[in-house]
Symmetry: D2
Subunit: 337 residues, 4 copies
């Protein structure tokens, strides 16, 4: 039985982790922390049956756990990760703090100095479909961002094959409101989101660009530039990314399907749709799956449509998938297919 | 041209007032106040084209207006209403502060002492379908609450006719999220409201009960007791009340329709549906109408179903209707039928 | 391994059954039928990964299964149930055809003659929290309706204790749109349901009244009369019932909580909320749970608020729960808690 | 008073026309036709107070009207338009039948021969912000499609200025479900749309591409190629288009704002947002406005974000705007600003 601690359990990703781990046969939540709600129980904060006590972070007993999940905001996560790693406990960080390999790049995008840059080389980017082997040995996994998960799975086979080197990639993404977290904000007030739809931080403004370009450029062995336009959808869960790429002559939807099926053979959570079908949120919400699909737009322009559940494959589900790999379990254990 | 001041213009009812008055041929917003957003413009706070400056309350020039609308929270409204009345300006208060005729009852429900009880006798309860004549001469109109508007219009013909004297009235109401205001609260976070539905303050806990029982008892000339269960709907606008009454023998849906059509003949905003049709929010959202309908439940139990738009007929639209009556205009001017 | 056949797999309850049974360790779908979509696969009809072939009903091999689930419309179900029972296969019918013990009552409400009235005495009403022992031995289980499940679980402890004998019970229910099925209808067109809310078949018109009164009267050993008002909610899933009862003197919310906790001790899917909390859909959607809660309304009137997921506890989840009991498995196997 | 006939009044655009014309001071609906609902009234089909009789098309008295609005499907519209024009009545066609200047292009996209190609040269493309003068004299106005309205207003100043000549234009559009009409379809079933989001007919498959490319190419005096990806949003109303263009060096968001403000000076329904703000549906739903906004994406790539209400500016509101221009009225009469 893997003994789990959750640092910062009261946001949507923390709650989703508790929910997933409650149904996991080989893991058990030993403690869950909350600075603001210490002393309460999770069922005081959520309409749920989880009678899980929330303890102050300073009362967390690191000796009692095998792995810690971090659901803290970026910047707040890194000092605690450092502490946990120093205690010899394996860590899965759902924040952005260990996703970028270069501390300067981190600082440029997140506008805060990195407090534990020496840990960056130890951190593995937790995209299991690409890095499963490294994750298996990792002591520190940086769980990818929700948007990057949807985009990177959609482009990995092309980038790895050198198809994106000269292409301008345009990513038009749409996310449900849980992606913005549970913190109060007018932007997530029901009346402001409902029956509404709009973009934010578009162009080259959103921090998740840094992860996308880091991984795509590494896979392509060339600089890949991305235009990224996130939008807020009036749904609770899900990210759909519509991605425009220009390829060399000779591609077709059928050839793309074949490329992706081969690239993701053996990946139980990637669902490559046949030619003629297009991904939608309904394919993936409440699951750890990613649905991928393709369309042609003429003149060698192709469209890749990718869908995930932002709280599961885009956050807590992927974190559990990473834990499974770290502890030698079946990748799918405890995860909704 | 009626010169209007709006006190507290940045909530949903204040915004709706600006929206309605912008399309009103005989009224003009002279100033709009906001304590927290003074110096900004309304289009800084809402996705809208209203380039209306927001001024601090202390800069409001009462000499420049004919009527003031108050969109302030209860408790905060009454001292300002007093000040405005002392300046000789007519007032339409959308808060609860002048709705209850008895200051003690006010204090019991709202847990705050009334600072201007002498104004209570001057205040007219602003339900135009019942009190249009008094409203015509009023200097201070207490605009009814949203739930009470939906319930009182649904029961007025029965109460006035003495049909509710011995009946236990059960009101099961459902309101859209704008009824909770624009203030940040986990209760109105998109993810908490969306795909959810539930009751709050049910039984005899909600403050709007006081208004309902005051008016019903006055019309019935007998004590009328109401059980009131509000619920939060995952929609932006609208209140639907499903009301259960037991009548004396001899009633039918057809007889109820006839009673209500007669009671509301000449009331342009009340839409009595024919037997066989039931009200729903779609009948009324984005209008100042109230839709009323009836069903039979056996053993002299009848169901009255009432629907309004909580921000229009339940708040700002009714306030404009009251202004029209106060200034001798056609009741419907500037209001969406 | 229980070998399962699904008769009529293409509606929402059929799809949900496939979804649940796919994750069930001791059951396996051997065939799924569809008259209109025979020859297709489930993933042709739903955005899903279930590559399950749909066969014509006449090709169903009854010898290959241990139990058949019926997701057919009422009236269409009974002749096929009869056939399946004659083949010696156990049956779980999700239609209304075997819920009413009296064929005449069935005919009065459903306006069709019963074709296999002799099976009615063999049929067990599949509410596991009340009839688990009978279900364990049953060959034919009549799975309760969605509204009745929400209402009966909410009233069973009171009815059984004789508390409803003289009470008029008023049930104000609200259901998500999946309750109306996948068949095309203007009533379930997105634009008609979204941002809307309204009642239908209220008073004593809805067929589910027959089940409610049958069970409540049996438990109370006295005639119990129900007023029932269903409403259509703009959500995909969930039923919330707000139920008004008048009890004898001496009851309190705390005493009700104690009564229900005792009545449902050992029932893993019933979640009795503590005094002060009220059920909402968020407690139960995507689970097989029923959340129950209580409020006081004065003068011995109490409100019971009950929530379920209409497709799971109100249909397919309860059907799997019944299958588990019929085959001696743990009641919770394969079901989301 | 302009006497109006509506051909095909029972769909969403027909209903919206009735709604808008009911509030129009200088127009009056003389008749409204429906093949399938002749003999009923509009309030039998919609939850509304419009007691408007629906007549069979063959009973339409063309001598009694000054202008006919056509809310018929493409293909069905053209023979009736021809008939109406032969009767000397002015026509505003909301279908696609007269939008394309070349009958062969029409046939290629709509797969039906044009029955009245000689009327194509008389038809004016009813985009008032571009063709107001021609509309003023037109006897036949082809009201633009909903997507093209959102895209063309977003690109007109750039196309006219020669900025799009060498650019690949990528249009990622998202539309509310009313755009799909009121006809029953699984695609617009509430449960399929709610909490879902996905693309359809992407790449170069959607018929509205033909209109977009026709107008853009005419304005640019060069062939403009568009990649167009429509998506279905879980909202009732609104289209938001996120448009990616590559410009020559030297552009900035501020310069775009200035260009558009100048181009649309005097156009009351175009709302050019200042730099730093982005359009969303909330700016425009329930109005006849189009909101336009801009962002930079590096390397001379810019993003234009455009929002309209698909039923108003994208259909019936624009049709009324065209009627106003045809009859010499103020462009804004009867239209929600």
């Amino acid at each position: 039985m893997i003994r789990v601690g959750i640092l910062g359990a009261t946001g949507y990703t923390g709650y989703e982790l508790v929910h997933l781990l409650t149904g996991h046969d080989q893991a058990k939540v030993v403690f869950a922390t909350s600075r603001s709600s210490a002393g309460k129980r999770l069922c005081d904060l959520y309409p749920c049956p989880y009678d899980l006590p929330l303890i102050a972070p300073e009362h967390a007993d690191l000796a009692a756990i095998d792995v810690a999940f971090f659901c803290l905001p970026h910047g707040e996560s890194m000092p605690v990760v450092q502490q946990v790693r120093e205690a010899g406990v394996r860590a899965i960080d759902l924040s952005a703090d260990f996703r970028l390999r270069d501390a300067d790049v981190y600082t440029r995008w997140y506008r805060v100095a990195h407090v534990a840059p020496w840990l960056l080389s130890e951190a593995v980017y937790g995209l299991p479909e690409v890095y499963s082997e490294q994750i298996g040995h990792a002591d520190l996994v940086a769980n990818p961002g929700c948007y990057p998960t949807s985009v990177l799975l959609a482009l990995y086979p092309l980038a790895r094959g050198g198809q994106l080197a000269d292409s301008r990639v345009i990513v038009d993404s749409k996310s449900g409101a849980s992606g913005a977290g549970r913190k109060l904000s007018l932007k997530t007030h029901f009346v402001e989101v409902n029956e509404n739809f709009g973009p934010y931080s578009i162009g080259r403004a959103h921090r998740h660009l840094s992860e996308m370009e880091q991984e795509l450029s590494a896979w392509a062995e060339a600089r890949v530039r991305v235009t990224f336009s996130p939008h807020l959808l009036p749904v609770s869960r899900g990210i759909l990314s519509t991605i425009y790429v220009t390829l060399q002559a000779g591609w077709s939807v059928e050839r793309l399907v074949a490329l992706y099926e081969e690239a993701y053979a053996g990946d139980p959570f990637v669902h490559v749709l046949p030619a003629g079908k297009l991904a939608s949120l309904a394919y993936v919400t409440h699951t750890n799956r990613c649905a991928l699909s393709f369309a042609e737009a003429g003149e060698n322009t192709f469209i890749v449509v990718s869908a995930i559940d932002n709280l599961i494959k885009g956050a807590s589900g992927q974190a559990v998938q990473n834990m499974n790999l770290m502890f030698g379990l079946d990748e799918t254990m405890g995860l909704p297919l």
